[in-house]
Symmetry: C2
Subunit: 334 residues, 2 copies
DNA sequence: CTCTTATTTGTAAACGATTACAATAAGTTT
DNA sequence: AAACTTATTGTAATCGTTTACAAATAAGAG
């Protein structure tokens, strides 16, 4: 593991000159540059990133903080972020908060201690307590969930409109009694619920409190909520869930009750997954442009690293409605 | 962002003393220790990890290099590794190779440049070209795929035996003409194929070349291979795939051909996923102890960091057969 | 050929921690 | 009280870079 000193000695120059060659500085005579490059090659020299970071007060690492990387949405995001980061010579550190603000806060501090260039964050709550208490000292881009009153770059989905379109699709196909199982505690679940209610109203229907559930965005909670909805005296004709985990739970509940989709109950959701098109019938859903979200977030982040004072942006991407069998036109039978 | 110098000044001591307090050295008078701790608290001092790493020639970061984090197996592993790393105060950098040895090699070099403490690697090939060319300079634990002649810690599945049990289960349930779609280029796919063939032989059957396919371990390849198998003049009664992506592809092919599981063709695979129990019928499979694999790999890694000269270990974990509907006892009809 | 200016190179000081080593202070023995 | 230990603290070097600044060299002008 040769250091810059040994390269300098081998090339008969000072470390400053080696550093200049490395940085492609114009102020190096071609002859010297050649000698240095030769020494670098011969010694298989690679600059020590730690030393460089210490001096530069900045690493080429970025952090990704999400609730759980196993949520397919975040898995896809992480892949996109890693690809984009890699292209720009950055490494990616991933962190799982499990929706725990304390863990979020700890990780944000770890990121600061590690001198990351920036962090892409899916916040545990809409207040960004963790962000506020820290004058972060690094760039931040928020994804998936908004922090309404924070002046920070964000990449979000058009949640209200996507939910509106998804619900309208059900209505157009003849479903009327539509239940919604929404992720609690995030702006995302709230906004999607709003879109759902707006669509109902646009069709002259009154949202019923009985049919709207806010639960932790996890399989078990989706299962429990769906089960209770299906056990209602007057069960819903369709179920809308706001993410793939809730959908998986709902599907489980539907199977358990021995109901057929969509004849007995339709099912629509957010987030494309491997399984959504594999189950029979395949699931109608709003596909988020996960790769684009991750890519855009990374780009915004690195732009801010380069230009910290730039005005913040809020990028809203459109969800795409994929119509499949789970919401086929309703056949009235009785 | 206070540095150790400012803490030292505030407490009226030298930086050495502050450092000793930080390291819990016994040689500090209680009175001084108190003063230092007070200064640390007041200045909200947090040690700079970069500086610490430069001096220690070692970071508290570990790398995870896999083919694609979106493969649910690796997603689960990454979560386990991150959890275990977090507990020990380490951060996790993830890298995707897409099965490309060049990318693997580049990432290994990046890991070295970044001075990671160690790397958990699912190698692209059985020769570890990337590892060899590098005298790594960091601890390495190999997972999922073996590097037969390398003296390195490994955490693997009992592939041969698991595949044997999976195949035997099919045989016991009356299936005879069983096809295997195996991931190519890894020891894992090969070993699982071996177990499959051993089981056949144990039942007096001769493995047929026609029924064994080695393909890239991806959905599309699984789809294509399954389709061709199902189009055979004498199609198989059961399909065994060696990972969840191949299974997803195979399932797609089965659906497309309008076949019923398990009546027309049974399907069994490796790797538990969200969807395997959601599809109808649910899929029989060998569940890998993903969390344990990740946890064990991290433990081995940190043990080696602490004690570099320790003899290498090879931990083999057992897969668990989960019997579900996709391999129900065969009903002969004609 | 000298003087001025532009270019190239080197010296040395950071960056923020840790840690040999030396120096000092505090106890223990005689 | 002197001579040892032993415990505590500080000084300064070090890790591997980058980069002001100074120094040296080369080029250009008269």
């Amino acid at each position: 593991m040769a250091s810059i000193k040994e390269v300098a000695r081998a090339a008969g120059v000072s470390t400053a000159t080696v550093s200049r060659v490395l940085a492609n500085s114009p102020h190096v005579r071609p002859a010297l540059r050649e000698r240095v490059l030769k020494a670098i090659k011969e010694l298989e020299y690679r600059p020590n990133l730690i030393a460089r970071s210490l001096r530069a007060q900045q690493t080429t690492t970025i952090g990704l903080i999400v609730s759980d990387i196993r949520n397919p949405f975040f898995t896809a995001i992480s892949r996109a972020v890693e690809d984009s980061a890699y292209e720009e010579g950055y490494s990616l550190i991933v962190c799982n908060t499990d929706e725990d603000p304390k863990k979020e806060s700890i990780y944000l501090n770890v990121m600061r201690d590690a001198n990351v260039a920036g962090v892409i964050l899916s916040p545990t709550g809409p207040t960004a307590a963790g962000l506020r208490e820290l004058e972060t000292g690094f760039a931040v881009v928020v994804i998936d969930r908004s922090i309404p009153d924070a002046d920070v770059d964000m990449v979000l989905l058009d949640n209200v409109d996507s939910a509106y379109r998804l619900t309208r699709h059900l209505l157009e196909n003849g479903y009327r009694r539509i239940a919604a199982i929404c992720g609690e505690r995030s702006t995302t679940g709230r906004e999607r619920c709003t879109g759902y209610e707006q669509a109902l109203r646009a069709y002259g229907l009154l949202p019923s409190a009985e049919l709207v559930r806010f639960v932790p965005p996890q399989i078990e909670a989706g299962y429990a909520a769906a089960l209770r909805l299906l056990e209602l005296p007057e069960p819903p004709e369709a179920l809308l869930t706001t993410n793939s985990l809730l959908a998986a739970g709902a599907l489980e509940a539907i199977h358990e009750r021995g109901l057929r989709i969509p004849d007995d109950v339709a099912l629509v959701t957010f987030d494309e997954t491997t399984w959504a098109s594999l189950v029979q019938p395949p699931i109608t859903l709003i596909e988020q442009p996960t790769y684009e979200i991750g890519k855009t977030a990374t780009e915004l982040l690195l732009q801010r690293v380069a230009e910290p004072e730039r005005a913040t942006r809020r990028v809203i991407l459109k969800g795409r409605l994929l119509v499949r069998g789970s919401s086929a036109p309703r056949v009235h039978c009785g």
